[in-house]
């Protein structure tokens, strides 16, 4: 079976998402250090801006892809029996997708 995210592509996805996440984290740390929102409403209106939303959603897509490649790597190494894999892989994939959906319904409607 050849999945879409295999070989070189999986490897590249992991590097590229790592770079995005690094920039993302640095940006948010800087934002909180230098332009720290004073209260919840400022924070909320900041987060509801279109480009910030996009940044965060892309950040979560990157995080989930990164986590998937990494966790799958660990499972391919350590979870040997096919039956255990058949349970573990969909379980992890399902959990990641659930997190993604939860993020989407939380962030997208912000205004």
């Amino acid at each position: 079976m050849r999945s879409v995210l295999t070989g070189l592509r999986a490897w590249l996805v992991q590097r590229v998402t790592a770079l995005y996440l690094l920039a993302f984290i640095i940006y948010f740390i800087a934002h909180f250090l230098f332009a720290s929102p004073s209260d919840y409403d400022t924070w909320r209106s900041y987060a509801a801006q279109g480009d910030v939303k996009l940044l965060v959603l892309a950040g979560f897509v990157a995080l989930l892809l990164h986590a998937w490649v990494g966790l799958r790597d660990v499972m391919l190494d350590y979870v040997k029996p096919i039956s255990a894999r058949a349970v573990a892989l969909p379980l992890v994939a399902g959990a990641l997708i659930a997190i993604g959906l939860w993020m989407l319904v939380t962030i997208a409607p912000l205004r």
């Binding site: 592509r9 490897w11 190494d77």
Partner: protein
């Protein structure tokens, strides 16, 4: 000095044990292999592989104080007062220090370790410029001792699916060969989750190679070739 050696005789032992030997190096003995061979002279049940005794055949790779190396080029002086010798980790033990290398060579064969060129045979030889030949330096010197592959955690977990550093160094040796015409098929073969990409750049392989080669760099080059082809 004291030498502990892993002993296992499949006909007598249910599991391996360590046996201690007391031995003083004599002036003419410089390398660890000299000591092991003297011990074997006294106790001929002690079993190991060796041939060239000068680091070119690759047959006497063992684990020396936790690190893989060739007994024949490991100076006794470097060992201190105690040496613990075990068979190569991650390989099935046949007897004492002798391991089964079948899987290792299967992986080696799987990368097609020969020049592939479907074109007509040249009259005399396949020619190569000195510059193109230079690109094989640091690759062709591998003696297939398996020191690297046997120290690679990724190979321990998936010896049947991950080619391992020695095999991948050879894969690159043929990818880098100007006379080879099989680049596409070679790259296709390595571009899945297991064969190349189980490597996590742990770098044990390069750290341990007794010929000072760098399998991890070769692996990096193959990744680059794959990336260049994809982008």
């Amino acid at each position: 000095m004291k030498i502990s050696i892993f002993r296992y005789d499949p006909e007598r032992d249910s599991e391996g044990r360590m046996q201690d030997y007391e031995i003083e190096p004599e002036p003419h003995e410089a390398m660890l292999l000299d000591l092991i061979l003297r011990l074997k002279g006294e106790d001929d049940t002690l079993t190991l592989r060796r041939s060239c005794r000068e680091g070119v055949c690759g047959s006497d790779a063992i684990n020396i104080n936790g690190r893989n190396g060739l007994a024949c080029i490991t100076p006794i002086r470097a060992l201190g007062e105690r040496a613990v010798l075990r068979p190569l980790p991650g390989f099935p033990v046949i007897r004492d220090l002798v391991v089964d290398m079948t899987q290792f060579f299967k992986q080696y064969v799987s990368i097609k370790p020969y020049v592939v060129d479907p074109g007509p045979m040249p009259d005399k030889e396949r020619r190569q410029s000195p510059q193109a030949r230079e690109r094989l330096d640091g690759l062709y010197e591998c003696i297939l001792c398996a020191c690297c592959t046997s120290m690679c955690p990724s190979y321990w977990w998936n010896p049947d699916k991950f080619v391992g550093p020695a095999g991948l160094l050879q894969a690159y040796r043929f990818l880098a060969d100007s006379r080879d015409r099989d680049t596409k098929a070679r790259l296709d073969d390595l571009d899945d989750v297991y064969r190349l990409f189980r490597c996590r750049t742990i770098m044990n392989c390069t750290e341990v190679c007794p010929k000072a080669l760098a399998p991890s760099r070769a692996i990096e080059r193959i990744r680059l070739m794959l990336a260049e082809r994809a982008l």
